[in-house]
Symmetry: D2
Subunit: 136 residues, 4 copies
Protein backbone atom coordinates (compact mmCIF):
# COMPACT_ATOMS: atom_id res chain seq x y z
CA UNK A 1 0.00 0.00 0.00
CA UNK A 2 1.31 3.44 -0.88
CA UNK A 3 -0.06 6.42 1.04
CA UNK A 4 0.75 10.05 0.41
CA UNK A 5 -0.45 13.32 1.91
CA UNK A 6 -0.50 16.87 0.66
CA UNK A 7 -2.13 20.11 1.73
CA UNK A 8 -4.45 22.46 -0.12
CA UNK A 9 -5.72 25.86 0.97
CA UNK A 10 -9.35 26.46 -0.08
CA UNK A 11 -9.58 29.39 -2.48
CA UNK A 12 -12.40 31.94 -2.60
CA UNK A 13 -13.14 30.84 -6.16
CA UNK A 14 -13.92 27.33 -4.83
CA UNK A 15 -16.77 28.48 -2.58
CA UNK A 16 -20.38 28.81 -3.68
CA UNK A 17 -23.32 30.82 -2.39
CA UNK A 18 -24.10 28.10 0.17
CA UNK A 19 -20.86 29.32 1.82
CA UNK A 20 -19.03 26.01 1.30
CA UNK A 21 -16.72 24.46 -1.29
CA UNK A 22 -18.71 23.59 -4.43
CA UNK A 23 -18.66 19.82 -4.86
CA UNK A 24 -16.88 19.53 -8.21
CA UNK A 25 -13.79 21.24 -6.78
CA UNK A 26 -13.09 18.17 -4.62
CA UNK A 27 -12.29 16.27 -7.81
CA UNK A 28 -9.65 18.91 -8.58
CA UNK A 29 -8.28 18.45 -5.06
CA UNK A 30 -8.13 14.68 -5.64
CA UNK A 31 -6.11 15.35 -8.81
CA UNK A 32 -3.64 17.44 -6.80
CA UNK A 33 -3.41 14.49 -4.38
CA UNK A 34 -2.51 12.11 -7.23
CA UNK A 35 0.06 14.50 -8.71
CA UNK A 36 1.75 14.97 -5.34
CA UNK A 37 1.65 11.21 -4.63
CA UNK A 38 3.60 10.57 -7.84
CA UNK A 39 6.00 13.44 -7.04
CA UNK A 40 6.66 12.00 -3.56
CA UNK A 41 7.70 8.75 -5.23
CA UNK A 42 10.33 10.70 -7.18
CA UNK A 43 8.48 10.95 -10.49
CA UNK A 44 5.93 13.40 -11.93
CA UNK A 45 2.77 13.01 -13.94
CA UNK A 46 4.15 15.75 -16.24
CA UNK A 47 7.14 13.44 -16.94
CA UNK A 48 4.76 10.56 -17.67
CA UNK A 49 2.98 12.66 -20.30
CA UNK A 50 6.34 13.68 -21.79
CA UNK A 51 7.14 9.95 -21.96
CA UNK A 52 3.98 9.38 -24.00
CA UNK A 53 1.63 8.07 -21.32
CA UNK A 54 -1.59 9.80 -20.36
CA UNK A 55 -4.17 8.81 -17.77
CA UNK A 56 -7.77 9.68 -18.65
CA UNK A 57 -10.28 9.22 -15.86
CA UNK A 58 -12.93 6.57 -16.49
CA UNK A 59 -14.76 6.59 -13.17
CA UNK A 60 -15.04 9.17 -10.39
CA UNK A 61 -16.89 8.82 -7.15
CA UNK A 62 -17.03 11.00 -4.05
CA UNK A 63 -19.00 11.03 -0.82
CA UNK A 64 -19.39 14.35 0.98
CA UNK A 65 -19.66 14.19 4.75
CA UNK A 66 -18.90 17.71 6.00
CA UNK A 67 -18.35 20.93 4.08
CA UNK A 68 -14.93 22.47 3.52
CA UNK A 69 -14.91 26.22 4.08
CA UNK A 70 -13.01 29.13 2.61
CA UNK A 71 -9.37 29.34 3.75
CA UNK A 72 -9.47 25.88 5.34
CA UNK A 73 -6.13 24.13 5.12
CA UNK A 74 -7.15 20.71 3.84
CA UNK A 75 -5.13 17.50 3.96
CA UNK A 76 -5.61 15.27 0.94
CA UNK A 77 -4.66 11.66 1.70
CA UNK A 78 -4.10 9.60 -1.43
CA UNK A 79 -3.82 5.82 -1.30
CA UNK A 80 -2.86 3.23 -3.85
CA UNK A 81 -4.11 -0.04 -2.36
CA UNK A 82 -2.86 -2.25 -5.17
CA UNK A 83 0.02 -2.10 -7.60
CA UNK A 84 -1.60 -1.78 -11.03
CA UNK A 85 -0.67 -4.69 -13.28
CA UNK A 86 -2.87 -3.90 -16.26
CA UNK A 87 -4.03 -0.64 -17.84
CA UNK A 88 -6.22 0.32 -14.88
CA UNK A 89 -5.12 2.32 -11.86
CA UNK A 90 -7.28 3.10 -8.86
CA UNK A 91 -6.69 5.89 -6.35
CA UNK A 92 -8.49 6.36 -3.05
CA UNK A 93 -8.71 9.85 -1.63
CA UNK A 94 -9.69 11.28 1.71
CA UNK A 95 -9.88 14.96 2.57
CA UNK A 96 -9.55 16.21 6.14
CA UNK A 97 -9.85 19.67 7.65
CA UNK A 98 -7.55 21.17 10.30
CA UNK A 99 -9.54 19.49 13.10
CA UNK A 100 -8.77 16.18 11.39
CA UNK A 101 -12.44 15.68 10.51
CA UNK A 102 -13.07 13.63 7.38
CA UNK A 103 -14.88 15.88 4.91
CA UNK A 104 -14.91 13.81 1.79
CA UNK A 105 -13.75 10.46 0.49
CA UNK A 106 -13.52 9.29 -3.08
CA UNK A 107 -12.24 6.78 -5.57
CA UNK A 108 -10.88 7.63 -9.00
CA UNK A 109 -10.21 5.02 -11.68
CA UNK A 110 -7.89 5.97 -14.52
CA UNK A 111 -6.65 4.15 -17.59
CA UNK A 112 -2.99 4.16 -18.56
CA UNK A 113 -2.93 5.06 -22.26
CA UNK A 114 -0.24 5.42 -24.90
CA UNK A 115 -0.87 9.03 -25.94
CA UNK A 116 0.20 8.88 -29.59
CA UNK A 117 -2.20 6.06 -30.49
CA UNK A 118 -4.61 6.29 -27.51
CA UNK A 119 -4.22 2.57 -26.84
CA UNK A 120 -4.19 0.96 -23.41
CA UNK A 121 -0.77 0.79 -21.83
CA UNK A 122 0.75 -0.20 -18.48
CA UNK A 123 2.49 1.60 -15.65
CA UNK A 124 5.87 2.98 -16.84
CA UNK A 125 8.65 0.65 -15.65
CA UNK A 126 10.43 3.45 -13.76
CA UNK A 127 7.28 4.21 -11.74
CA UNK A 128 6.52 0.52 -11.18
CA UNK A 129 9.98 0.08 -9.61
CA UNK A 130 9.42 3.09 -7.36
CA UNK A 131 6.11 1.63 -6.16
CA UNK A 132 7.26 -1.97 -5.78
CA UNK A 133 8.73 -1.61 -2.25
CA UNK A 134 5.30 -0.50 -0.93
CA UNK A 135 3.63 -3.67 -2.14
CA UNK A 136 5.97 -6.38 -0.82
Amino acid sequence: MFVSETQIRVRYADTDQMGVVYHSNYFDYFEVGRAEAIRQLGFTYAQMEDDGICMPIVDAHARFLRPALYDNLLTVKTTLKELPIHHKIEFHHEIYNEKNELLCSGKIILYLMEKSVMKRSVLPEVLRKMLLPYFQ
Copy 2:
Protein backbone atom coordinates in the same frame (compact mmCIF):
# COMPACT_ATOMS: atom_id res chain seq x y z
CA MET B 1 -40.35 8.90 -13.98
CA PHE B 2 -39.51 12.47 -14.86
CA VAL B 3 -37.05 13.05 -17.69
CA SER B 4 -35.71 16.39 -18.83
CA GLU B 5 -33.18 17.44 -21.44
CA THR B 6 -31.07 20.54 -21.89
CA GLN B 7 -28.13 21.54 -24.04
CA ILE B 8 -24.69 22.82 -23.11
CA ARG B 9 -22.00 24.12 -25.42
CA VAL B 10 -18.49 23.10 -24.26
CA ARG B 11 -16.40 26.16 -23.38
CA TYR B 12 -12.69 26.55 -24.04
CA ALA B 13 -12.15 26.93 -20.28
CA ASP B 14 -13.53 23.39 -19.81
CA THR B 15 -10.85 21.71 -21.92
CA ASP B 16 -7.52 20.51 -20.59
CA GLN B 17 -4.16 19.85 -22.23
CA MET B 18 -5.30 16.34 -23.21
CA GLY B 19 -7.60 18.22 -25.64
CA VAL B 20 -10.80 17.02 -23.97
CA VAL B 21 -13.21 18.27 -21.30
CA TYR B 22 -11.59 17.97 -17.87
CA HIS B 23 -13.59 15.44 -15.85
CA SER B 24 -14.75 17.64 -12.97
CA ASN B 25 -16.64 19.90 -15.41
CA TYR B 26 -19.14 17.12 -16.08
CA PHE B 27 -20.38 17.57 -12.52
CA ASP B 28 -21.08 21.23 -13.36
CA TYR B 29 -22.95 20.06 -16.47
CA PHE B 30 -24.99 17.67 -14.31
CA GLU B 31 -25.91 20.62 -12.08
CA VAL B 32 -27.12 22.57 -15.12
CA GLY B 33 -29.20 19.49 -15.98
CA ARG B 34 -30.84 19.50 -12.55
CA ALA B 35 -31.52 23.26 -12.62
CA GLU B 36 -33.16 23.00 -16.06
CA ALA B 37 -35.15 19.92 -15.01
CA ILE B 38 -36.68 21.91 -12.14
CA ARG B 39 -37.28 24.91 -14.44
CA GLN B 40 -39.08 22.68 -16.98
CA LEU B 41 -41.43 21.62 -14.20
CA GLY B 42 -42.33 25.26 -13.68
CA PHE B 43 -40.20 25.95 -10.60
CA THR B 44 -36.58 27.01 -10.05
CA TYR B 45 -33.87 25.92 -7.68
CA ALA B 46 -33.26 29.63 -7.04
CA GLN B 47 -36.86 29.88 -5.81
CA MET B 48 -36.32 26.84 -3.56
CA GLU B 49 -33.35 28.57 -1.92
CA ASP B 50 -35.42 31.74 -1.50
CA ASP B 51 -38.05 29.56 0.19
CA GLY B 52 -35.43 28.37 2.67
CA ILE B 53 -34.53 24.99 1.21
CA CYS B 54 -31.03 24.10 0.02
CA MET B 55 -29.78 20.86 -1.49
CA PRO B 56 -26.20 19.98 -0.61
CA ILE B 57 -24.72 17.07 -2.54
CA VAL B 58 -23.82 14.04 -0.44
CA ASP B 59 -22.73 11.62 -3.15
CA ALA B 60 -21.50 12.11 -6.71
CA HIS B 61 -20.59 9.43 -9.19
CA ALA B 62 -19.71 9.58 -12.88
CA ARG B 63 -18.51 7.14 -15.50
CA PHE B 64 -16.66 8.54 -18.51
CA LEU B 65 -17.02 6.61 -21.76
CA ARG B 66 -15.97 9.00 -24.52
CA PRO B 67 -14.45 12.48 -24.30
CA ALA B 68 -16.42 15.66 -24.94
CA LEU B 69 -14.53 18.14 -27.08
CA TYR B 70 -14.36 21.92 -27.33
CA ASP B 71 -17.45 23.49 -28.91
CA ASN B 72 -19.42 20.23 -28.80
CA LEU B 73 -23.12 20.83 -28.27
CA LEU B 74 -23.92 18.38 -25.50
CA THR B 75 -27.31 17.09 -24.46
CA VAL B 76 -27.70 16.53 -20.75
CA LYS B 77 -30.50 14.10 -19.96
CA THR B 78 -31.63 14.28 -16.35
CA THR B 79 -33.88 11.63 -14.85
CA LEU B 80 -35.73 11.40 -11.56
CA LYS B 81 -36.61 7.71 -11.26
CA GLU B 82 -38.46 8.02 -7.97
CA LEU B 83 -40.46 10.73 -6.29
CA PRO B 84 -38.46 11.61 -3.16
CA ILE B 85 -40.46 10.99 -0.01
CA HIS B 86 -37.81 11.73 2.58
CA HIS B 87 -34.88 14.16 2.71
CA LYS B 88 -32.96 12.38 -0.04
CA ILE B 89 -33.24 13.07 -3.75
CA GLU B 90 -31.42 11.15 -6.46
CA PHE B 91 -30.77 12.39 -10.00
CA HIS B 92 -29.47 10.31 -12.88
CA HIS B 93 -27.62 12.10 -15.66
CA GLU B 94 -26.48 11.14 -19.11
CA ILE B 95 -24.50 13.33 -21.48
CA TYR B 96 -24.61 12.82 -25.24
CA ASN B 97 -22.72 14.52 -28.06
CA GLU B 98 -24.20 15.66 -31.39
CA LYS B 99 -23.81 12.15 -32.87
CA ASN B 100 -25.97 10.93 -29.98
CA GLU B 101 -23.06 8.98 -28.51
CA LEU B 102 -23.21 8.55 -24.74
CA LEU B 103 -20.15 10.32 -23.28
CA CYS B 104 -20.81 10.18 -19.60
CA SER B 105 -23.38 8.93 -17.12
CA GLY B 106 -23.71 9.79 -13.47
CA LYS B 107 -25.76 9.74 -10.32
CA ILE B 108 -25.97 12.59 -7.84
CA ILE B 109 -27.56 12.25 -4.41
CA LEU B 110 -28.60 15.42 -2.62
CA TYR B 111 -30.20 16.11 0.74
CA LEU B 112 -33.11 18.49 1.09
CA MET B 113 -32.19 20.79 3.97
CA GLU B 114 -33.86 23.64 5.79
CA LYS B 115 -31.28 26.37 5.21
CA SER B 116 -31.77 28.44 8.37
CA VAL B 117 -31.12 25.54 10.74
CA MET B 118 -29.41 23.10 8.34
CA LYS B 119 -31.81 20.32 9.31
CA ARG B 120 -33.15 17.68 6.97
CA SER B 121 -36.32 18.68 5.19
CA VAL B 122 -38.56 17.29 2.45
CA LEU B 123 -39.46 18.29 -1.10
CA PRO B 124 -41.40 21.60 -1.09
CA GLU B 125 -45.12 20.85 -1.51
CA VAL B 126 -45.39 22.99 -4.67
CA LEU B 127 -42.62 20.99 -6.36
CA ARG B 128 -44.02 17.66 -5.14
CA LYS B 129 -47.33 18.50 -6.80
CA MET B 130 -45.59 19.37 -10.06
CA LEU B 131 -43.76 16.04 -10.01
CA LEU B 132 -46.70 13.87 -8.94
CA PRO B 133 -48.22 13.36 -12.45
CA TYR B 134 -44.93 11.79 -13.62
CA PHE B 135 -45.07 9.10 -10.95
CA GLN B 136 -48.63 7.86 -11.27
Copy 3:
Protein backbone atom coordinates in the same frame (compact mmCIF):
# COMPACT_ATOMS: atom_id res chain seq x y z
CA MET C 1 -18.47 47.51 -36.49
CA PHE C 2 -19.62 43.96 -35.81
CA VAL C 3 -21.89 43.36 -32.83
CA SER C 4 -23.12 40.02 -31.59
CA GLU C 5 -25.21 38.91 -28.63
CA THR C 6 -25.56 35.62 -26.82
CA GLN C 7 -27.12 34.47 -23.57
CA ILE C 8 -25.62 32.65 -20.61
CA ARG C 9 -27.41 31.26 -17.58
CA VAL C 10 -25.36 31.67 -14.37
CA ARG C 11 -24.45 28.29 -12.88
CA TYR C 12 -24.28 27.48 -9.18
CA ALA C 13 -20.59 26.66 -9.61
CA ASP C 14 -19.96 30.27 -10.69
CA THR C 15 -21.20 31.80 -7.42
CA ASP C 16 -19.00 32.41 -4.40
CA GLN C 17 -19.74 32.79 -0.71
CA MET C 18 -20.46 36.51 -1.20
CA GLY C 19 -23.58 35.21 -3.01
CA VAL C 20 -22.54 36.62 -6.39
CA VAL C 21 -20.67 35.42 -9.48
CA TYR C 22 -16.94 35.16 -8.72
CA HIS C 23 -15.11 37.70 -10.87
CA SER C 24 -12.90 35.37 -12.92
CA ASN C 25 -15.98 33.67 -14.38
CA TYR C 26 -16.83 36.82 -16.35
CA PHE C 27 -13.72 36.16 -18.45
CA ASP C 28 -15.17 32.74 -19.29
CA TYR C 29 -18.45 34.44 -20.24
CA PHE C 30 -16.51 36.85 -22.48
CA GLU C 31 -14.95 33.84 -24.20
CA VAL C 32 -18.41 32.39 -24.86
CA GLY C 33 -19.32 35.80 -26.33
CA ARG C 34 -16.36 35.64 -28.74
CA ALA C 35 -17.09 32.04 -29.77
CA GLU C 36 -20.74 32.86 -30.49
CA ALA C 37 -19.78 36.06 -32.35
CA ILE C 38 -17.62 34.01 -34.74
CA ARG C 39 -20.37 31.38 -35.06
CA GLN C 40 -22.93 34.06 -35.95
CA LEU C 41 -20.63 35.13 -38.79
CA GLY C 42 -20.81 31.59 -40.15
CA PHE C 43 -17.46 30.32 -38.90
CA THR C 44 -16.25 28.75 -35.66
CA TYR C 45 -13.21 29.23 -33.50
CA ALA C 46 -12.93 25.41 -33.45
CA GLN C 47 -12.58 25.53 -37.25
CA MET C 48 -9.89 28.20 -36.96
CA GLU C 49 -7.86 25.93 -34.67
CA ASP C 50 -8.35 23.04 -37.09
CA ASP C 51 -7.02 25.37 -39.81
CA GLY C 52 -3.87 25.93 -37.76
CA ILE C 53 -4.65 29.30 -36.17
CA CYS C 54 -4.88 29.85 -32.44
CA MET C 55 -5.65 33.01 -30.51
CA PRO C 56 -3.86 33.33 -27.16
CA ILE C 57 -5.00 36.19 -24.96
CA VAL C 58 -2.38 38.85 -24.29
CA ASP C 59 -4.44 41.37 -22.35
CA ALA C 60 -7.67 41.09 -20.35
CA HIS C 61 -9.50 43.86 -18.60
CA ALA C 62 -12.88 43.97 -16.90
CA ARG C 63 -14.81 46.50 -14.83
CA PHE C 64 -17.48 45.19 -12.48
CA LEU C 65 -20.43 47.48 -11.85
CA ARG C 66 -23.17 45.27 -10.43
CA PRO C 67 -23.09 41.62 -9.37
CA ALA C 68 -24.56 38.81 -11.44
CA LEU C 69 -26.54 36.34 -9.36
CA TYR C 70 -27.23 32.61 -9.53
CA ASP C 71 -29.67 31.64 -12.29
CA ASN C 72 -29.58 35.11 -13.89
CA LEU C 73 -29.98 34.94 -17.65
CA LEU C 74 -27.16 37.19 -18.82
CA THR C 75 -26.75 38.79 -22.22
CA VAL C 76 -23.18 39.01 -23.42
CA LYS C 77 -22.73 41.70 -26.06
CA THR C 78 -19.53 41.30 -28.04
CA THR C 79 -18.24 44.05 -30.30
CA LEU C 80 -15.44 44.19 -32.84
CA LYS C 81 -14.88 47.90 -33.38
CA GLU C 82 -12.17 47.51 -35.99
CA LEU C 83 -11.33 44.92 -38.60
CA PRO C 84 -7.99 43.46 -37.51
CA ILE C 85 -5.32 44.01 -40.16
CA HIS C 86 -2.30 42.67 -38.30
CA HIS C 87 -1.86 39.87 -35.74
CA LYS C 88 -3.84 41.66 -33.04
CA ILE C 89 -7.57 41.39 -32.50
CA GLU C 90 -9.53 43.32 -29.89
CA PHE C 91 -12.96 42.38 -28.54
CA HIS C 92 -15.18 44.57 -26.38
CA HIS C 93 -17.68 42.83 -24.12
CA GLU C 94 -20.62 44.00 -22.09
CA ILE C 95 -22.74 41.82 -19.83
CA TYR C 96 -26.33 42.72 -18.97
CA ASN C 97 -28.84 41.10 -16.66
CA GLU C 98 -32.54 40.52 -17.40
CA LYS C 99 -33.41 44.09 -16.31
CA ASN C 100 -30.96 45.28 -18.96
CA GLU C 101 -28.61 46.65 -16.31
CA LEU C 102 -24.95 46.70 -17.31
CA LEU C 103 -23.11 44.40 -14.90
CA CYS C 104 -19.67 44.23 -16.38
CA SER C 105 -17.71 45.55 -19.33
CA GLY C 106 -14.37 44.38 -20.62
CA LYS C 107 -11.79 44.38 -23.35
CA ILE C 108 -9.82 41.33 -24.45
CA ILE C 109 -6.82 41.52 -26.77
CA LEU C 110 -5.74 38.35 -28.54
CA TYR C 111 -2.95 37.53 -30.95
CA LEU C 112 -3.58 35.53 -34.10
CA MET C 113 -0.89 32.84 -34.14
CA GLU C 114 0.11 30.07 -36.50
CA LYS C 115 -0.23 27.09 -34.14
CA SER C 116 2.44 24.78 -35.60
CA VAL C 117 5.26 27.31 -35.23
CA MET C 118 3.63 29.74 -32.76
CA LYS C 119 4.41 32.69 -35.01
CA ARG C 120 2.19 35.74 -35.47
CA SER C 121 -0.38 35.36 -38.19
CA VAL C 122 -3.34 37.31 -39.56
CA LEU C 123 -7.09 36.81 -39.66
CA PRO C 124 -7.97 33.80 -41.89
CA GLU C 125 -9.11 35.07 -45.30
CA VAL C 126 -12.49 33.32 -45.01
CA LEU C 127 -13.25 35.10 -41.72
CA ARG C 128 -11.94 38.46 -43.03
CA LYS C 129 -14.40 38.24 -45.92
CA MET C 130 -17.26 37.48 -43.56
CA LEU C 131 -16.38 40.52 -41.45
CA LEU C 132 -15.71 42.93 -44.31
CA PRO C 133 -19.35 43.97 -44.89
CA TYR C 134 -19.55 45.23 -41.29
CA PHE C 135 -16.64 47.60 -41.77
CA GLN C 136 -17.56 49.34 -45.00
Copy 4:
Protein backbone atom coordinates in the same frame (compact mmCIF):
# COMPACT_ATOMS: atom_id res chain seq x y z
CA MET D 1 5.29 49.51 0.03
CA PHE D 2 4.26 46.05 1.15
CA VAL D 3 5.42 43.09 -0.93
CA SER D 4 4.50 39.47 -0.37
CA GLU D 5 5.27 36.25 -2.23
CA THR D 6 3.58 32.88 -2.35
CA GLN D 7 3.82 29.79 -4.51
CA ILE D 8 1.19 27.97 -6.54
CA ARG D 9 1.53 24.67 -8.39
CA VAL D 10 -0.39 24.65 -11.70
CA ARG D 11 -3.15 22.03 -11.65
CA TYR D 12 -4.22 19.91 -14.61
CA ALA D 13 -7.69 21.47 -14.37
CA ASP D 14 -6.14 24.89 -15.08
CA THR D 15 -4.74 23.91 -18.48
CA ASP D 16 -6.67 24.17 -21.74
CA GLN D 17 -6.35 22.44 -25.09
CA MET D 18 -3.70 24.96 -26.18
CA GLY D 19 -1.53 23.16 -23.58
CA VAL D 20 -1.20 26.23 -21.34
CA VAL D 21 -2.98 27.71 -18.33
CA TYR D 22 -6.34 29.17 -19.41
CA HIS D 23 -6.22 32.92 -18.85
CA SER D 24 -9.03 33.32 -16.32
CA ASN D 25 -7.18 31.09 -13.84
CA TYR D 26 -4.52 33.79 -13.36
CA PHE D 27 -7.19 35.88 -11.64
CA ASP D 28 -7.69 33.01 -9.18
CA TYR D 29 -3.90 32.91 -8.64
CA PHE D 30 -3.94 36.67 -7.98
CA GLU D 31 -6.62 36.09 -5.35
CA VAL D 32 -4.40 33.49 -3.65
CA GLY D 33 -1.63 36.12 -3.71
CA ARG D 34 -3.86 38.63 -1.92
CA ALA D 35 -5.03 36.09 0.67
CA GLU D 36 -1.45 35.07 1.45
CA ALA D 37 -0.30 38.72 1.57
CA ILE D 38 -2.88 39.44 4.28
CA ARG D 39 -1.93 36.21 6.11
CA GLN D 40 1.76 37.18 6.08
CA LEU D 41 0.80 40.42 7.81
CA GLY D 42 -0.75 38.36 10.61
CA PHE D 43 -4.39 38.69 9.58
CA THR D 44 -6.68 36.76 7.23
CA TYR D 45 -9.28 37.77 4.70
CA ALA D 46 -11.53 35.13 6.30
CA GLN D 47 -11.26 37.07 9.58
CA MET D 48 -12.11 40.30 7.76
CA GLU D 49 -15.33 38.73 6.46
CA ASP D 50 -16.13 37.44 9.95
CA ASP D 51 -15.63 41.03 11.16
CA GLY D 52 -18.25 42.18 8.65
CA ILE D 53 -16.02 43.54 5.89
CA CYS D 54 -16.02 42.16 2.35
CA MET D 55 -13.98 43.23 -0.64
CA PRO D 56 -15.75 42.91 -3.99
CA ILE D 57 -13.57 43.41 -7.04
CA VAL D 58 -14.45 46.44 -9.16
CA ASP D 59 -11.65 46.32 -11.73
CA ALA D 60 -9.37 43.51 -12.93
CA HIS D 61 -6.60 43.78 -15.47
CA ALA D 62 -3.94 41.32 -16.56
CA ARG D 63 -1.27 41.21 -19.24
CA PHE D 64 -0.06 37.81 -20.40
CA LEU D 65 3.55 37.61 -21.56
CA ARG D 66 4.47 33.92 -21.49
CA PRO D 67 2.32 30.86 -20.83
CA ALA D 68 2.35 28.96 -17.54
CA LEU D 69 2.39 25.20 -18.04
CA TYR D 70 1.01 22.21 -16.16
CA ASP D 71 2.90 21.42 -12.94
CA ASN D 72 4.90 24.69 -13.08
CA LEU D 73 5.66 26.00 -9.61
CA LEU D 74 4.65 29.64 -9.93
CA THR D 75 5.63 32.52 -7.68
CA VAL D 76 2.91 35.10 -7.17
CA LYS D 77 4.33 38.45 -6.08
CA THR D 78 1.70 40.74 -4.57
CA THR D 79 2.39 44.41 -3.95
CA LEU D 80 0.47 47.11 -2.14
CA LYS D 81 2.06 50.34 -3.37
CA GLU D 82 -0.09 52.64 -1.25
CA LEU D 83 -1.80 52.37 2.09
CA PRO D 84 -5.52 52.61 1.31
CA ILE D 85 -7.11 55.59 3.03
CA HIS D 86 -10.58 55.40 1.57
CA HIS D 87 -12.80 52.49 0.48
CA LYS D 88 -10.54 51.55 -2.45
CA ILE D 89 -7.64 49.11 -2.31
CA GLU D 90 -5.33 48.33 -5.20
CA PHE D 91 -3.15 45.24 -5.51
CA HIS D 92 -0.43 44.69 -8.09
CA HIS D 93 0.43 41.11 -8.99
CA GLU D 94 3.25 39.49 -10.91
CA ILE D 95 3.56 35.79 -11.67
CA TYR D 96 6.92 34.16 -12.34
CA ASN D 97 7.84 30.63 -13.36
CA GLU D 98 10.73 28.56 -11.92
CA LYS D 99 13.20 30.20 -14.34
CA ASN D 100 12.14 33.54 -12.84
CA GLU D 101 10.55 34.60 -16.13
CA LEU D 102 7.66 37.03 -15.77
CA LEU D 103 4.56 35.30 -17.15
CA CYS D 104 1.81 37.66 -16.21
CA SER D 105 1.25 40.97 -14.43
CA GLY D 106 -1.99 42.44 -13.24
CA LYS D 107 -3.76 45.02 -11.15
CA ILE D 108 -6.88 44.35 -9.11
CA ILE D 109 -8.98 47.11 -7.54
CA LEU D 110 -11.33 46.17 -4.73
CA TYR D 111 -13.76 48.12 -2.59
CA LEU D 112 -13.88 47.71 1.15
CA MET D 113 -17.55 47.21 2.00
CA GLU D 114 -19.54 46.76 5.18
CA LYS D 115 -21.17 43.40 4.46
CA SER D 116 -24.43 43.78 6.37
CA VAL D 117 -25.48 46.96 4.57
CA MET D 118 -23.17 46.76 1.51
CA LYS D 119 -21.93 50.30 2.12
CA ARG D 120 -18.40 51.52 1.49
CA SER D 121 -16.09 51.07 4.43
CA VAL D 122 -12.40 51.52 5.20
CA LEU D 123 -9.50 49.22 6.03
CA PRO D 124 -10.08 47.55 9.43
CA GLU D 125 -8.00 49.36 12.06
CA VAL D 126 -6.13 46.16 13.03
CA LEU D 127 -4.99 45.62 9.43
CA ARG D 128 -4.13 49.31 8.94
CA LYS D 129 -1.79 49.10 11.96
CA MET D 130 -0.11 45.99 10.57
CA LEU D 131 0.47 47.74 7.24
CA LEU D 132 1.58 51.11 8.64
CA PRO D 133 5.28 50.20 9.17
CA TYR D 134 5.62 49.41 5.44
CA PHE D 135 4.51 52.88 4.41
CA GLN D 136 6.67 55.07 6.64
